[in-house]
Every structure is written in C-alpha cells, then in structure tokens.
Amino acid sequence: MSLRITRTGILDTVQDTGRFGFQHLGINPGGAMDRFSAQLANALLGKELHDAVMEIHFPAAEILFESPTVITICGADFSPAINNQPVPLHHPIAVNTNAVLQFRHVEQGARCYISVLHGLDVELWLGSYSTNLKAETGGWKGRILKRYDQLPFKKNYDVSALLGDKEVHVLPWKANDTVDTRNEIECILGSEWSWLTREAQQAFQNNWFLVSSNADRMGYRMSGAALEVNRADQLVSSAAGFGTIQLLPDGQMIILMADHGTTGGYPRIAHIISAHLPLLAQKKPNNSIRFKITPLEAAEKKLVVQKKYLQQLQIACKFKMNF
C-alpha cells in the first residue's frame, strides 16, 4: 500500500494548509503555496481539506502507484499522463497497481497538487504535515521527494469497484471552479502605504509589475518602476505575513509567500488578499501582474465564499466516494 517516486523532480514536497501556533518561536507556517488548489484536490476525494498533498513543481517527479488508489491533480497544468495517456485536472482518477504518473510539459501555472485517497503516511510536526525544508522536518523526512522514496498509504480502502477492469478510470465528477489565470490581483493597503509618494501610489495601481527570476516559495521579488517614499524611518522588526508586500530600499517590491520569515522590518505597503494568493502562487518569473486595491471587508467576504465552496464540495464528494 504505497506509491514510489521513480524520478526526482526539481522541488516536490508534502504540504498541507500550514503550521499555525508557533510563529512566536520564529517557526513559519509554510504549507501549500496555492492553498485553494491543494484543498480542492482533497475536496474532490471527499477528504479533509487540511490533509497532506504533494506539491509538484516542473520538471516534476514521476510517480509509480504500487497499489490501487484514487488521486486528484489540481492547480497548474503540467499536462499529466498516466501510462502515457493524458488525464484531466480537477477530476478524481482511479489508478491500478503499477500505474505511472508523469508530467510532460508546462501548459499553465507554476505548482500542482496531488491528493491521494488512501492518504500519505508522513511526519506530523507541530500539528502540520507541511515540509519545513530549513528546519528539515515535517512532511517526508523534512526534505524534497527523491527517486526511490516509497511513501506508505495510511488507510486501507478497497477501490476495485471504482476501477472495474480498467488500469486507469477517470471518475465522472469534477470541480467547476478551478485555476483562475487573471493577471489583476487584489490587495488591501498596508500600514506604511502613506509613506509612498502620490506618484508612487499611482504607479502601484496603474503599472504592470514583472515577477522576477528571484521568485520562490519564500517570496516573489517584483521588478518594475521603482516606488519612492517620502520618509525614511527605520522600522523595528514586527510580524509579516503570507501576501505582505514589502518595499525594499531600492524601491522594488518583494511579496512574501508561504515560506516567508515570521517577522521583518521593511515598510508594508500592501497585502495580497487571501482569496487571490492562489492566483499569485501560480505565477512564474516573467509573468506580469497588476495590483488592484480593494476594501478589507470585500477581501474577507471573498475568502469566506471560497472556503464555503470548498466545504460544500468536500461534503458532496464524500457522499459520492462513499468510503
């Protein structure tokens, strides 16, 4: 009852919705970059939304299933294929023993998520399955997935009825809300917004900004017109969050992502709204984005709508799976 990595990808880890309650010790939440797709993959199998999933970057790992299970692939489209036949995203797929999952090329997005019905038997650290690469703990041995890794399954379901006599069987339901590829990303104002000159405030809202090559799980360094400030106070360190847009001394921005440090001392000019972090998490170097300022209350409501959608889908799929 397991799956095996048969080729090492560039950065494939086990993640969940993050590790909370330890930031006062400098331990950051981590977790999936695109939390929506990670939860969607779980919801489509009727699993708990915060269950562990694999986060896959491209070039991706190759995965061999050593026993039958049902999987869902959500998020980026890396043109997945099982036993050399293309398979759809956002659909539960039953796979038999010896099925091989490969990702062939990037169609869209930066990260995809694989949920496995039987669950991955991985390391829980401080209440989360997320891999903390720096602290070398959580997830699969606190490191990226490598060739020869054999990830045991947690549960023992019989899925033969779903599979029938097939090696691969795409189940008949899918998600309606999937990856949004729009380039306009909403944010709310940060506590140092007023430090920006009037021109810089305009530029922030009107200009396009490029995701630079310096963009990873810790943060996206943006490149574009330098934003000027009308004061140069030094801030003492205080908390920073996933989505915080910090202004660096050279006038460029860095957007903190899932593996951000818990605290920082740069001016916080804005924060990406939580409901749009998944959009940003699917952007790659050289993608252009634009920021749109939105009221805090609208941001909260979008997050609640997203959460309700996932919860309802999870319950509906739980009945369909019937395990």
Binding site: F20, G21, F22, Q23, H24, L25, G26, I27, N28, P29, W125, L126, N132, K134, A135, E136, T137, G142, I188, G190, S191, D233, L235, V236, S237, S238, A239, A240, G241, F242, G243, T244, G261, T262, T263, G264, R268, H271, I272, I273, S274, L296, E297, A299, E300, L303, V304, K307, K308
Partner: protein, 240 residues
C-alpha cells in the same frame, strides 16, 4: 502605577491585525507586549490561530470564516477582532513568572569568529575587550523571528555596536553568535546572514526532535560566557 501606553491597531492583511505600541526598542514596551501576548495565549480564544509578539507590537492571526459564522451585525472580521483587542490593550495583565537566567557558552576563538578581526579593527580594541563587553550584560530576548528559534536579544553595549555587513554571508554556520546595532543573536540553523559574527556556541538553539524545539523564548534572560576551543569540542562530544 499603571502607565497608559498609546497604541494603534491596523490590519496585517485580511486575516491578521497588529497592535503597535510604538516604533522603539524598549524593555518596558516589550514587557507590555509580552504580558498581553501571554494573556491572549492563555485565553485560548477560539478565533485566534497564531500570535506573533515582536519588539513593540503584537500580531494576532484569526480565522475569518469562523468569525463570519458567529457574526451578528455588520462588523467585518477585522472590526470584530479589533473591538475585542481594544479593551485588552489598555488593561494591565499579570506578568508571567520570571524564569532563571539561561547561561550560554560561546567560543570567541578566531576560527569561530570570522568578523572578530573586523570588529577589533573597527572599534580599536583587542579581542579580550570585545569578549568582555559581549559577555558582561544580561540580555533580554525581545522576540523570535527570521528563522526557527532565532532570538533577537538586547541590548549590546554601545561601545560594541556596529551596522550589519554590506554584503550578507551566504552561509553562516549554525550556532554562530552575531551582533548588529543594539542586537545580538545566535543562528539556529545554517543560513545566509548579515550580522557580524564574533563567536559560536556548542548549544543546540533549535532541535526539531524536541517537543519544545527552541532554547530561547520571548522574555527570557540570557548571559554569555567565554569558553576555549577545547571546551567547545568537549561540549559537542558530550552532547552528540
């Protein structure tokens, strides 16, 4: 006497708020932050998912969906949480009991102190003076951040204060003790870093095998003492 500390509350994104008591490093304000932090931590408020105390601010992460489930009226989740915090920020909270001083051995030998030469040159003093100035004070752990278990301690003697390095090092060895401005700290893990490194401790500041993985906690008192290279090696052998 209960001194009133003015504060501001602002959203840190759409799932957190920061209560800011002023942009300064002061023991009194930091104590206010920590008393407030412990009060909230002990209250186990169902909406609160994480707390981040810093030098002079406390950040509260909350579960927006849970608040909306219980919400009556037109308040946003932020307003709901800000209202809860308003009353508490002014109140005086019972301080946690003072804990024992944590004594930390540091080897200041040149092999472990890549910036010692720069520090002695810049400050026109010899290594013995640097060691004396660094080991004399009782340091307060103001906050943790940057890396798991990285404690921001203060305050460094004014005669030893230096800015951070212009070009950060790509690899600072775990256990390295650094200074910058009024702050001193220990790198818990190998990482890039810009502080001036003047020694190394054989202690494990972060250990992912322990249920409490960090050595230092906000509010702790720390004293460094100097050890030789032999003592450093002995210590490591005894604890490996």
């Amino acid at each position: 006497m209960n001194i009133y500390h003015p504060y501001t509350i602002f959203p840190l994104g759409d799932g957190a708020l920061t209560i800011d008591f002023g942009n300064i490093i002061s023991e009194e304000l930091n104590q206010k932050v920590l008393d407030f932090y412990h009060h909230l931590k002990n209250s186990q408020h169902p909406f609160i998912t994480d707390l981040i105390p810093a030098y002079s601010s406390l950040t509260v992460l909350y579960d927006v969906a849970a608040i909306y489930q219980h919400l009556e009226g037109d308040n946003s989740a932020f307003e709901t949480m800000a209202n809860i915090m308003e009353g508490m920020a002014v109140a005086k909270h019972q301080p946690e009991e003072k804990k024992e001083i944590i004594h930390v051995p540091v080897c200041y030998a040149f092999d472990f102190a890549p910036d010692m030469e720069y520090i002695t040159r810049e400050k026109n003093m010899d290594a013995t003076d640097v060691i004396r100035l660094h080991t004399e004070p009782l340091y307060r752990v103001y906050m943790l951040g940057f890396l798991p278990g990285f404690a921001y301690m203060g305050q460094v003697d004014h005669r030893l204060q230096l800015p951070r390095k212009k070009e950060p090092r790509l690899h600072v060895v775990a256990g390295s003790v650094g200074i910058t401005g009024k702050q001193t700290g220990i790198y818990p893990l190998q990482s890039p870093g810009g502080w001036q490194i003047l020694g190394r401790t054989p202690l494990k500041v972060f250990d992912n095998q322990l249920s409490d993985p960090v050595l230092f906690h906000p509010g702790d008192t720390v004293k460094f003492y100097s050890i030789s290279e032999d003592e450093f090696t002995d210590y490591q052998n005894r604890h490996s």
